[in-house]
Protein backbone atom coordinates (compact mmCIF):
# COMPACT_ATOMS: atom_id res chain seq x y z
CA UNK A 1 0.00 0.00 0.00
CA UNK A 2 1.39 3.37 -1.00
CA UNK A 3 1.36 5.50 2.10
CA UNK A 4 3.35 8.45 0.74
CA UNK A 5 0.46 10.88 0.09
CA UNK A 6 -1.07 10.03 3.43
CA UNK A 7 2.16 10.64 5.32
CA UNK A 8 2.65 13.86 3.39
CA UNK A 9 -0.78 15.41 4.01
CA UNK A 10 -0.87 14.56 7.71
CA UNK A 11 2.76 15.61 8.32
CA UNK A 12 3.44 12.15 9.78
CA UNK A 13 7.01 12.38 8.39
CA UNK A 14 7.88 14.89 11.11
CA UNK A 15 7.09 12.45 13.95
CA UNK A 16 10.01 12.36 16.38
CA UNK A 17 8.71 9.35 18.32
CA UNK A 18 8.47 11.35 21.55
CA UNK A 19 5.26 9.46 22.49
CA UNK A 20 3.53 12.51 23.94
CA UNK A 21 0.55 11.35 21.88
CA UNK A 22 0.49 7.97 23.60
CA UNK A 23 0.79 9.65 26.98
CA UNK A 24 -2.23 11.83 26.26
CA UNK A 25 -4.34 9.23 24.40
CA UNK A 26 -7.40 8.25 26.50
CA UNK A 27 -7.44 4.84 24.86
CA UNK A 28 -3.75 4.22 25.62
CA UNK A 29 -4.26 5.23 29.25
CA UNK A 30 -7.34 3.10 29.82
CA UNK A 31 -5.99 0.08 27.98
CA UNK A 32 -2.67 0.29 29.84
CA UNK A 33 -4.47 0.33 33.18
CA UNK A 34 -6.43 -2.76 32.20
CA UNK A 35 -3.56 -4.69 30.66
CA UNK A 36 0.04 -3.51 31.04
CA UNK A 37 1.37 -5.68 28.23
CA UNK A 38 -1.02 -4.48 25.60
CA UNK A 39 -2.30 -1.04 25.01
CA UNK A 40 -2.92 1.43 22.30
CA UNK A 41 -0.10 3.52 20.85
CA UNK A 42 -0.54 6.25 18.21
CA UNK A 43 3.26 6.56 18.11
CA UNK A 44 3.65 2.91 17.13
CA UNK A 45 1.11 3.29 14.32
CA UNK A 46 3.00 6.27 12.89
CA UNK A 47 6.40 4.55 13.29
CA UNK A 48 5.13 1.55 11.36
CA UNK A 49 3.61 3.73 8.68
CA UNK A 50 6.95 5.50 8.22
CA UNK A 51 8.45 2.09 7.52
CA UNK A 52 5.81 1.62 4.85
CA UNK A 53 3.59 -0.75 6.78
CA UNK A 54 0.04 -0.30 7.81
CA UNK A 55 -1.14 -2.67 10.45
CA UNK A 56 -4.88 -3.00 10.11
CA UNK A 57 -5.14 -6.41 11.74
CA UNK A 58 -4.07 -5.57 15.27
CA UNK A 59 -6.96 -3.11 15.39
CA UNK A 60 -4.69 -0.11 15.88
CA UNK A 61 -6.18 1.74 12.90
CA UNK A 62 -9.76 0.79 13.73
CA UNK A 63 -9.61 1.34 17.50
CA UNK A 64 -8.62 5.02 17.44
CA UNK A 65 -11.25 7.41 18.84
CA UNK A 66 -10.06 10.18 16.51
CA UNK A 67 -10.62 12.52 19.47
CA UNK A 68 -7.67 14.75 18.52
CA UNK A 69 -6.12 14.72 22.02
CA UNK A 70 -2.84 13.47 20.55
CA UNK A 71 -2.70 16.08 17.82
CA UNK A 72 -3.15 18.93 20.32
CA UNK A 73 -0.17 17.61 22.27
CA UNK A 74 2.08 16.79 19.33
CA UNK A 75 5.20 19.02 19.15
CA UNK A 76 5.63 18.16 15.44
CA UNK A 77 2.03 18.96 14.52
CA UNK A 78 1.19 15.50 13.19
CA UNK A 79 -2.50 15.18 12.35
CA UNK A 80 -3.01 11.68 13.73
CA UNK A 81 -6.84 11.60 13.50
CA UNK A 82 -6.53 12.72 9.89
CA UNK A 83 -4.01 9.96 9.30
CA UNK A 84 -6.38 7.37 10.77
CA UNK A 85 -9.31 8.67 8.76
CA UNK A 86 -7.43 8.50 5.48
CA UNK A 87 -5.88 5.13 6.28
CA UNK A 88 -9.32 3.68 7.01
CA UNK A 89 -10.71 4.95 3.76
CA UNK A 90 -7.68 3.61 1.87
CA UNK A 91 -7.99 0.18 3.49
CA UNK A 92 -11.69 0.05 2.70
CA UNK A 93 -11.09 0.98 -0.92
CA UNK A 94 -8.35 -1.58 -1.44
CA UNK A 95 -9.51 -4.51 0.67
CA UNK A 96 -13.29 -4.25 0.59
CA UNK A 97 -13.88 -4.34 4.31
CA UNK A 98 -12.12 -2.96 7.31
CA UNK A 99 -12.51 -4.02 10.87
CA UNK A 100 -15.14 -1.53 11.97
CA UNK A 101 -16.88 -3.01 14.97
CA UNK A 102 -20.24 -1.33 15.41
CA UNK A 103 -22.65 -1.89 18.29
CA UNK A 104 -26.21 -3.00 17.46
CA UNK A 105 -27.50 0.55 17.63
CA UNK A 106 -24.58 1.83 15.62
CA UNK A 107 -25.04 -0.71 12.87
CA UNK A 108 -28.68 0.27 12.51
CA UNK A 109 -27.71 3.93 12.23
CA UNK A 110 -25.02 3.01 9.74
CA UNK A 111 -27.58 1.19 7.59
CA UNK A 112 -30.01 4.09 7.93
CA UNK A 113 -27.28 6.35 6.53
CA UNK A 114 -26.74 3.88 3.68
CA UNK A 115 -30.46 3.87 2.94
CA UNK A 116 -30.48 7.68 2.93
CA UNK A 117 -27.54 7.74 0.54
CA UNK A 118 -28.77 4.98 -1.79
CA UNK A 119 -32.49 5.55 -1.90
CA UNK A 120 -34.75 8.45 -2.61
CA UNK A 121 -36.62 8.48 0.70
CA UNK A 122 -39.48 10.72 1.75
CA UNK A 123 -38.88 10.55 5.47
CA UNK A 124 -41.50 11.10 8.17
CA UNK A 125 -39.15 12.43 10.83
CA UNK A 126 -40.89 15.61 11.94
CA UNK A 127 -43.08 14.24 14.75
CA UNK A 128 -40.99 15.99 17.38
CA UNK A 129 -41.87 19.47 16.08
CA UNK A 130 -45.41 19.48 17.57
CA UNK A 131 -46.55 23.07 18.29
CA UNK A 132 -43.11 24.57 17.74
CA UNK A 133 -42.64 27.05 14.94
CA UNK A 134 -40.45 26.03 12.06
CA UNK A 135 -40.17 27.39 8.54
CA UNK A 136 -39.55 26.03 5.06
CA UNK A 137 -37.36 28.89 3.88
CA UNK A 138 -35.34 31.46 5.77
CA UNK A 139 -31.96 32.63 6.94
CA UNK A 140 -31.40 30.39 9.96
CA UNK A 141 -31.52 26.63 9.66
CA UNK A 142 -31.63 24.21 12.53
CA UNK A 143 -29.79 21.07 11.46
CA UNK A 144 -31.45 18.31 13.47
CA UNK A 145 -29.05 15.50 12.64
CA UNK A 146 -29.95 11.97 13.66
CA UNK A 147 -31.72 13.02 16.89
CA UNK A 148 -35.14 11.60 15.92
CA UNK A 149 -33.51 8.31 14.93
CA UNK A 150 -31.50 8.02 18.14
CA UNK A 151 -34.81 7.92 20.04
CA UNK A 152 -36.03 5.04 17.88
CA UNK A 153 -32.78 3.08 18.00
CA UNK A 154 -32.06 3.59 21.71
CA UNK A 155 -35.59 3.91 23.13
CA UNK A 156 -34.70 2.70 26.62
CA UNK A 157 -31.62 4.86 26.92
CA UNK A 158 -32.17 8.39 25.66
CA UNK A 159 -34.66 10.95 24.48
CA UNK A 160 -32.43 13.08 22.32
CA UNK A 161 -35.46 14.51 20.51
CA UNK A 162 -35.91 16.75 23.54
CA UNK A 163 -32.63 18.46 22.62
CA UNK A 164 -34.09 19.48 19.26
CA UNK A 165 -37.35 20.51 20.92
CA UNK A 166 -35.49 22.63 23.49
CA UNK A 167 -33.38 24.30 20.83
CA UNK A 168 -36.35 25.21 18.63
CA UNK A 169 -38.26 26.37 21.73
CA UNK A 170 -35.37 28.69 22.60
CA UNK A 171 -35.11 29.91 19.02
CA UNK A 172 -38.86 30.61 18.95
CA UNK A 173 -38.52 32.57 22.20
CA UNK A 174 -35.79 34.61 20.53
CA UNK A 175 -38.16 35.36 17.66
CA UNK A 176 -36.66 32.92 15.18
CA UNK A 177 -38.64 30.25 13.37
CA UNK A 178 -35.78 28.15 12.04
CA UNK A 179 -35.82 26.28 8.77
CA UNK A 180 -36.01 22.55 9.44
CA UNK A 181 -35.54 20.19 6.53
CA UNK A 182 -38.32 17.60 6.40
CA UNK A 183 -36.10 15.25 4.45
CA UNK A 184 -32.70 16.02 5.95
CA UNK A 185 -30.23 13.15 5.69
CA UNK A 186 -27.42 12.09 8.02
CA UNK A 187 -24.48 14.51 7.82
CA UNK A 188 -22.23 11.53 7.02
CA UNK A 189 -19.75 12.07 9.85
CA UNK A 190 -19.62 8.42 10.87
CA UNK A 191 -19.26 7.28 7.28
CA UNK A 192 -16.37 9.67 6.68
CA UNK A 193 -14.54 8.55 9.83
CA UNK A 194 -15.06 4.83 9.26
CA UNK A 195 -13.63 4.97 5.77
CA UNK A 196 -16.77 5.07 3.63
CA UNK A 197 -15.94 8.23 1.76
CA UNK A 198 -18.30 7.54 -1.16
CA UNK A 199 -21.35 7.21 1.08
CA UNK A 200 -20.27 10.37 2.88
CA UNK A 201 -20.07 12.30 -0.37
CA UNK A 202 -23.49 11.07 -1.50
CA UNK A 203 -25.02 12.25 1.79
CA UNK A 204 -23.14 15.54 1.72
CA UNK A 205 -24.34 16.33 -1.80
CA UNK A 206 -27.96 15.69 -0.80
CA UNK A 207 -27.79 17.93 2.27
CA UNK A 208 -25.82 20.66 0.53
CA UNK A 209 -28.38 20.85 -2.30
CA UNK A 210 -31.33 20.97 0.11
CA UNK A 211 -29.75 23.61 2.34
CA UNK A 212 -28.59 25.85 -0.46
CA UNK A 213 -31.95 25.96 -2.24
CA UNK A 214 -33.65 27.33 0.92
CA UNK A 215 -31.63 30.54 1.00
CA UNK A 216 -30.00 29.65 4.31
CA UNK A 217 -27.32 32.00 5.65
CA UNK A 218 -26.55 30.32 8.94
CA UNK A 219 -26.83 26.78 10.28
CA UNK A 220 -27.30 25.97 13.97
CA UNK A 221 -26.79 22.39 15.09
CA UNK A 222 -26.82 20.65 18.48
CA UNK A 223 -24.49 17.89 17.43
CA UNK A 224 -20.73 18.61 17.48
CA UNK A 225 -20.21 15.94 14.83
CA UNK A 226 -22.65 17.62 12.45
CA UNK A 227 -20.98 20.93 13.38
CA UNK A 228 -17.49 19.76 12.44
CA UNK A 229 -18.69 17.94 9.35
CA UNK A 230 -20.78 20.80 7.94
CA UNK A 231 -18.17 23.41 8.80
CA UNK A 232 -14.91 21.72 7.86
CA UNK A 233 -15.61 18.65 5.77
CA UNK A 234 -18.48 19.76 3.50
CA UNK A 235 -16.49 22.65 1.98
CA UNK A 236 -13.62 20.24 1.39
CA UNK A 237 -15.60 17.49 -0.32
CA UNK A 238 -18.60 19.19 -1.94
CA UNK A 239 -19.54 22.65 -3.11
CA UNK A 240 -20.80 24.15 0.15
CA UNK A 241 -20.13 27.35 1.99
CA UNK A 242 -22.59 28.37 4.70
CA UNK A 243 -21.81 29.69 8.18
CA UNK A 244 -22.22 26.95 10.80
CA UNK A 245 -22.47 27.44 14.57
CA UNK A 246 -22.90 24.95 17.37
CA UNK A 247 -25.87 25.35 19.70
CA UNK A 248 -23.55 26.29 22.58
CA UNK A 249 -22.16 29.22 20.58
CA UNK A 250 -25.63 30.22 19.49
CA UNK A 251 -26.98 30.07 23.06
CA UNK A 252 -24.05 31.98 24.45
CA UNK A 253 -24.71 34.71 21.86
CA UNK A 254 -28.42 34.90 22.74
CA UNK A 255 -27.68 35.05 26.46
CA UNK A 256 -24.96 37.68 26.25
CA UNK A 257 -27.04 40.05 24.10
CA UNK A 258 -30.02 39.59 26.44
CA UNK A 259 -32.36 38.02 23.90
CA UNK A 260 -33.18 35.16 26.24
CA UNK A 261 -33.61 35.63 29.96
CA UNK A 262 -33.81 33.20 32.84
CA UNK A 263 -36.25 32.81 35.71
CA UNK A 264 -35.27 34.35 39.03
CA UNK A 265 -32.43 32.91 41.01
CA UNK A 266 -33.51 29.67 42.74
CA UNK A 267 -32.70 29.30 46.44
CA UNK A 268 -30.49 26.26 46.09
CA UNK A 269 -27.27 26.10 44.13
CA UNK A 270 -26.45 23.00 42.15
CA UNK A 271 -22.91 22.02 41.20
CA UNK A 272 -22.52 20.51 37.75
CA UNK A 273 -19.69 19.17 35.62
CA UNK A 274 -19.13 19.64 31.92
CA UNK A 275 -17.97 17.00 29.47
CA UNK A 276 -16.09 18.48 26.50
CA UNK A 277 -17.27 16.61 23.39
CA UNK A 278 -14.21 15.75 21.32
CA UNK A 279 -15.54 17.22 18.05
CA UNK A 280 -16.58 20.46 19.72
CA UNK A 281 -13.60 20.94 22.00
CA UNK A 282 -10.51 19.22 20.76
CA UNK A 283 -11.41 19.38 17.06
CA UNK A 284 -13.05 22.81 16.81
CA UNK A 285 -11.57 24.47 19.95
CA UNK A 286 -14.95 25.55 21.28
CA UNK A 287 -14.18 25.39 24.99
CA UNK A 288 -15.44 28.65 26.43
CA UNK A 289 -18.98 29.12 25.10
CA UNK A 290 -20.59 26.05 26.73
CA UNK A 291 -18.99 27.06 30.04
CA UNK A 292 -20.31 30.61 29.68
CA UNK A 293 -23.80 29.26 29.05
CA UNK A 294 -23.70 27.01 32.14
CA UNK A 295 -22.39 29.82 34.33
CA UNK A 296 -25.08 32.21 33.15
CA UNK A 297 -27.87 29.86 34.28
CA UNK A 298 -29.05 30.96 37.74
CA UNK A 299 -28.49 28.36 40.46
CA UNK A 300 -25.89 26.40 38.52
CA UNK A 301 -22.24 26.38 39.40
CA UNK A 302 -19.75 24.72 37.12
CA UNK A 303 -17.01 22.79 38.80
CA UNK A 304 -14.35 21.57 36.41
CA UNK A 305 -13.44 17.89 36.47
CA UNK A 306 -9.82 16.94 37.13
CA UNK A 307 -9.19 16.66 33.40
CA UNK A 308 -10.82 19.38 31.35
CA UNK A 309 -10.73 21.14 28.00
CA UNK A 310 -7.84 19.98 25.79
CA UNK A 311 -6.69 17.62 28.54
CA UNK A 312 -10.04 15.89 28.91
CA UNK A 313 -10.81 12.36 27.79
CA UNK A 314 -13.67 12.04 25.34
CA UNK A 315 -16.73 9.88 26.00
CA UNK A 316 -14.82 6.85 24.73
CA UNK A 317 -16.62 6.00 21.50
CA UNK A 318 -16.84 7.68 18.15
CA UNK A 319 -18.95 6.63 15.17
CA UNK A 320 -20.49 3.95 17.45
CA UNK A 321 -17.49 1.75 16.78
CA UNK A 322 -15.23 -0.44 18.86
CA UNK A 323 -17.13 -0.28 22.16
CA UNK A 324 -15.52 -2.64 24.68
CA UNK A 325 -14.33 -2.74 28.28
CA UNK A 326 -11.61 -0.16 27.59
CA UNK A 327 -14.19 2.34 26.38
CA UNK A 328 -16.44 1.49 29.31
CA UNK A 329 -13.53 2.27 31.58
CA UNK A 330 -13.01 5.68 29.98
CA UNK A 331 -16.69 6.46 30.54
CA UNK A 332 -16.72 5.19 34.12
CA UNK A 333 -13.62 7.28 34.86
CA UNK A 334 -15.33 10.35 33.45
CA UNK A 335 -18.56 9.69 35.31
CA UNK A 336 -16.75 9.14 38.59
CA UNK A 337 -15.05 12.55 38.21
CA UNK A 338 -18.41 14.25 37.63
CA UNK A 339 -20.67 15.96 40.18
CA UNK A 340 -24.41 15.18 40.42
CA UNK A 341 -25.09 16.38 36.87
CA UNK A 342 -22.83 15.85 33.88
CA UNK A 343 -23.66 18.44 31.26
CA UNK A 344 -22.78 17.57 27.68
CA UNK A 345 -23.22 19.41 24.43
CA UNK A 346 -23.32 16.30 22.27
CA UNK A 347 -26.21 13.85 21.84
CA UNK A 348 -23.76 11.04 21.19
CA UNK A 349 -21.79 11.64 24.41
CA UNK A 350 -25.14 11.42 26.16
CA UNK A 351 -26.02 8.15 24.45
CA UNK A 352 -22.67 6.59 25.34
CA UNK A 353 -22.71 7.65 28.99
CA UNK A 354 -26.33 6.64 29.48
CA UNK A 355 -25.76 3.34 27.71
CA UNK A 356 -22.96 2.53 30.16
CA UNK A 357 -25.16 3.53 33.10
CA UNK A 358 -27.96 1.41 31.66
CA UNK A 359 -26.04 -1.77 30.85
CA UNK A 360 -22.99 -1.96 33.13
CA UNK A 361 -23.77 -4.32 36.00
CA UNK A 362 -20.77 -3.46 38.15
CA UNK A 363 -21.41 0.27 38.32
CA UNK A 364 -21.70 1.94 41.75
CA UNK A 365 -24.99 3.61 42.76
CA UNK A 366 -23.31 7.05 42.83
CA UNK A 367 -22.12 6.75 39.26
CA UNK A 368 -25.45 5.26 38.24
CA UNK A 369 -27.25 8.26 39.75
CA UNK A 370 -25.38 10.93 37.82
CA UNK A 371 -27.71 12.76 35.53
CA UNK A 372 -26.35 13.25 32.00
CA UNK A 373 -28.00 16.22 30.39
CA UNK A 374 -27.64 18.38 27.30
CA UNK A 375 -26.90 22.08 27.52
CA UNK A 376 -29.97 22.99 25.44
CA UNK A 377 -32.30 21.17 27.84
CA UNK A 378 -30.79 23.01 30.81
CA UNK A 379 -31.23 26.38 29.13
CA UNK A 380 -34.80 25.66 28.02
CA UNK A 381 -35.78 24.61 31.54
CA UNK A 382 -34.25 27.67 33.17
CA UNK A 383 -35.62 30.09 30.62
CA UNK A 384 -38.27 32.64 31.32
CA UNK A 385 -41.46 31.74 29.53
CA UNK A 386 -42.06 34.33 26.82
CA UNK A 387 -45.61 34.63 25.64
Amino acid sequence: MNLEPLIETTRAYSCISCAKCTGRCPLARASYELDRDGGYSPRAVVSKALQGEIDDHSGMIWDCLTCNACALKCPSDVDFPGFVRQARSKIRKERANGQVRLCTGGSQLSEIANLMAERDLQQKRMDWVGDLQVAVEGETLYFVGCLPYFDLVFPDVVHTQTIAQSMVKIMNAAGIAPVVLANEVCCGHDKLWTGEEDVFKALARKNAAMIQERGVKRIVTSCPECYRTLKLDYPEFVDFNVEVVHSSQFLSELISDGTIRFKDEPETERTVSYQDPCRLGKHMRVFQEPRDVINSIPGLRLEEMTETKAESACCGTSAFSGCDKVREKIRLDRLSQAKSTLVTACPKCQIHFKCTQHTNQTISPEVQGIEVKDLANLVAEAMEAHV
Partner: protein, 143 residues
Protein backbone atom coordinates in the same frame (compact mmCIF):
# COMPACT_ATOMS: atom_id res chain seq x y z
CA UNK B 1 -38.10 2.89 -45.35
CA UNK B 2 -36.41 1.03 -42.63
CA UNK B 3 -38.26 -0.66 -39.91
CA UNK B 4 -36.82 -1.07 -36.45
CA UNK B 5 -35.08 -4.39 -36.22
CA UNK B 6 -36.35 -5.01 -32.74
CA UNK B 7 -39.95 -4.22 -32.04
CA UNK B 8 -40.30 -1.85 -29.12
CA UNK B 9 -40.57 -4.00 -26.09
CA UNK B 10 -43.02 -3.51 -23.30
CA UNK B 11 -41.40 -2.13 -20.17
CA UNK B 12 -39.95 -5.00 -18.19
CA UNK B 13 -42.31 -6.30 -15.56
CA UNK B 14 -41.27 -5.56 -12.00
CA UNK B 15 -39.55 -8.54 -10.40
CA UNK B 16 -39.64 -8.08 -6.64
CA UNK B 17 -36.54 -8.91 -4.68
CA UNK B 18 -37.56 -10.32 -1.34
CA UNK B 19 -35.32 -11.56 1.41
CA UNK B 20 -36.60 -13.90 4.11
CA UNK B 21 -34.82 -14.66 7.37
CA UNK B 22 -36.09 -18.04 8.53
CA UNK B 23 -35.31 -19.78 11.77
CA UNK B 24 -33.60 -23.11 11.33
CA UNK B 25 -35.83 -24.97 13.80
CA UNK B 26 -39.30 -24.10 12.54
CA UNK B 27 -39.90 -22.07 9.46
CA UNK B 28 -36.84 -23.25 7.52
CA UNK B 29 -38.14 -26.77 8.13
CA UNK B 30 -41.51 -25.54 6.91
CA UNK B 31 -39.83 -24.42 3.69
CA UNK B 32 -38.36 -27.92 3.34
CA UNK B 33 -41.77 -29.40 3.93
CA UNK B 34 -43.29 -27.11 1.31
CA UNK B 35 -40.62 -28.40 -1.07
CA UNK B 36 -41.08 -32.10 -0.34
CA UNK B 37 -44.85 -31.75 -0.58
CA UNK B 38 -44.40 -30.15 -4.03
CA UNK B 39 -46.01 -26.94 -2.86
CA UNK B 40 -44.94 -24.09 -5.12
CA UNK B 41 -44.31 -20.59 -3.87
CA UNK B 42 -43.00 -17.33 -5.27
CA UNK B 43 -39.45 -17.65 -6.65
CA UNK B 44 -38.81 -14.02 -5.70
CA UNK B 45 -38.53 -14.91 -2.03
CA UNK B 46 -34.96 -15.90 -1.18
CA UNK B 47 -34.41 -17.48 2.19
CA UNK B 48 -31.48 -16.91 4.51
CA UNK B 49 -31.37 -19.50 7.26
CA UNK B 50 -30.68 -18.10 10.72
CA UNK B 51 -30.33 -20.05 13.99
CA UNK B 52 -33.27 -18.22 15.54
CA UNK B 53 -35.53 -15.32 14.62
CA UNK B 54 -33.94 -13.66 17.65
CA UNK B 55 -30.69 -13.57 15.68
CA UNK B 56 -32.14 -11.10 13.20
CA UNK B 57 -30.77 -7.71 14.11
CA UNK B 58 -32.76 -4.76 12.79
CA UNK B 59 -29.63 -3.68 10.97
CA UNK B 60 -29.80 -6.87 8.82
CA UNK B 61 -33.21 -5.81 7.58
CA UNK B 62 -32.13 -2.21 6.97
CA UNK B 63 -29.01 -3.43 5.20
CA UNK B 64 -31.10 -5.62 2.91
CA UNK B 65 -33.34 -2.66 2.08
CA UNK B 66 -30.35 -0.40 1.47
CA UNK B 67 -28.73 -2.98 -0.80
CA UNK B 68 -31.64 -3.64 -3.13
CA UNK B 69 -34.28 -5.73 -1.39
CA UNK B 70 -37.85 -4.51 -1.93
CA UNK B 71 -39.22 -6.32 1.09
CA UNK B 72 -37.99 -8.37 4.04
CA UNK B 73 -39.80 -11.25 5.71
CA UNK B 74 -38.80 -12.63 9.09
CA UNK B 75 -40.19 -15.98 10.13
CA UNK B 76 -39.79 -17.80 13.43
CA UNK B 77 -41.31 -20.38 15.75
CA UNK B 78 -44.67 -19.69 17.35
CA UNK B 79 -44.40 -17.97 20.75
CA UNK B 80 -43.77 -20.63 23.37
CA UNK B 81 -42.15 -22.99 20.85
CA UNK B 82 -38.77 -21.27 20.50
CA UNK B 83 -35.86 -23.68 20.58
CA UNK B 84 -34.00 -21.09 22.65
CA UNK B 85 -37.05 -20.43 24.83
CA UNK B 86 -37.37 -16.67 24.34
CA UNK B 87 -35.58 -15.84 21.07
CA UNK B 88 -38.78 -15.18 19.16
CA UNK B 89 -40.07 -12.92 21.92
CA UNK B 90 -36.91 -10.83 21.52
CA UNK B 91 -37.50 -10.88 17.77
CA UNK B 92 -41.03 -9.57 18.26
CA UNK B 93 -39.91 -6.72 20.51
CA UNK B 94 -37.16 -5.81 18.10
CA UNK B 95 -39.61 -5.92 15.23
CA UNK B 96 -41.87 -3.37 16.94
CA UNK B 97 -38.94 -0.96 17.05
CA UNK B 98 -37.94 -1.76 13.49
CA UNK B 99 -41.48 -1.05 12.29
CA UNK B 100 -41.26 2.46 13.81
CA UNK B 101 -37.90 3.04 12.13
CA UNK B 102 -39.24 1.90 8.77
CA UNK B 103 -42.15 4.30 9.14
CA UNK B 104 -39.87 7.22 10.07
CA UNK B 105 -37.69 6.51 7.06
CA UNK B 106 -40.78 6.99 4.91
CA UNK B 107 -40.99 3.40 3.66
CA UNK B 108 -44.29 1.54 3.43
CA UNK B 109 -44.69 -0.46 6.66
CA UNK B 110 -45.86 -3.48 4.63
CA UNK B 111 -42.31 -3.91 3.28
CA UNK B 112 -41.25 -5.66 6.47
CA UNK B 113 -43.21 -8.49 8.00
CA UNK B 114 -42.85 -10.91 10.89
CA UNK B 115 -44.66 -14.27 10.82
CA UNK B 116 -44.72 -17.30 13.08
CA UNK B 117 -44.56 -20.53 11.07
CA UNK B 118 -43.98 -23.95 12.63
CA UNK B 119 -42.10 -26.88 11.06
CA UNK B 120 -45.42 -28.55 10.25
CA UNK B 121 -46.81 -25.57 8.39
CA UNK B 122 -45.35 -25.96 4.90
CA UNK B 123 -48.57 -24.74 3.35
CA UNK B 124 -48.61 -21.70 5.54
CA UNK B 125 -45.05 -20.82 4.56
CA UNK B 126 -45.91 -21.06 0.89
CA UNK B 127 -49.07 -19.02 1.39
CA UNK B 128 -47.23 -16.33 3.38
CA UNK B 129 -44.44 -16.13 0.80
CA UNK B 130 -46.97 -15.74 -2.03
CA UNK B 131 -49.00 -13.16 -0.18
CA UNK B 132 -45.92 -11.16 0.72
CA UNK B 133 -44.57 -11.31 -2.83
CA UNK B 134 -47.95 -10.06 -4.08
CA UNK B 135 -47.92 -7.21 -1.54
CA UNK B 136 -44.44 -6.13 -2.63
CA UNK B 137 -45.35 -6.45 -6.30
CA UNK B 138 -48.31 -4.16 -5.66
CA UNK B 139 -46.11 -1.63 -3.79
CA UNK B 140 -43.59 -1.61 -6.60
CA UNK B 141 -39.83 -1.25 -6.35
CA UNK B 142 -38.25 0.58 -3.42
CA UNK B 143 -37.11 3.90 -4.84
Amino acid sequence: MTEPLVAEREPAAFVPRILAFSCTWCSYQAADLAGTSRREYSPHVRIVRVPCSGRVDSSFVLKALANGADGVLITGCHPGDCHYVRGNIFAEKRFERLAKLVLALGLEPERVRLEWISAAEGDRLAKTANEFAETIRRLGPLK
